[in-house]
Assembly symmetry: C2
Homo-oligomer: 95 residues x 2
């Protein structure tokens, strides 16, 4: 897990929105509708999800024909202590 | 100062290197040589410095024909508590 790669992954408004969805630590389906991203093409959403996964921000569990995505919070916290908390707090703070 | 814009600015290896140079809180000249970036074209370095400045990560002081760049640590810490410290610690940690 590389710091610059993680920051690049999160330095995009769509991927930040995905992160905020995943921050409940639940598993999420990949349907754009479920992610509040139904204004985006499915392939665009897939691209952003791949960037997050390849950066190590999320993991994907495949179950039959479905995929479930969740935040790798423990791994991120272990590798970059305080980073995810600071980002989530910053995203929640008023501009 | 926008979180996604700051993360995007730091999600690049050259700009991360600049950040680490600026982390001493001194003023730095814009000469690529002084930044350990003399393998890059001057215009490339200027581009990366502009991205950092426009994101609010750095400020630039103009003195005669020279420009001096420094980290906006206090502003970043006030706006995104813990973020810069977590990033600098993560950059210093072994992979």
């Amino acid at each position: 897990m590389d710091l610059v790669t993680v920051l690049h992954a999160l330095g995009d408004p769509v991927r930040m929105r995905l992160l905020l969805s995943y921050a409940d630590d639940a598993e999420h389906s990949c349907a754009p509708r479920d992610l509040g991203l139904d204004h985006l093409h499915k392939s665009t959403v897939s691209h952003h999800m791949r960037v997050l996964r390849e950066a190590g921000v999320t993991s994907t569990r495949v179950a039959g024909r479905n995929r479930f995505v969740s935040l790798r919070r423990a791994d991120l916290d272990a590798r970059f202590p305080g980073l995810l908390d600071a980002i989530l707090a910053g995203a929640a703070a008023p501009a």
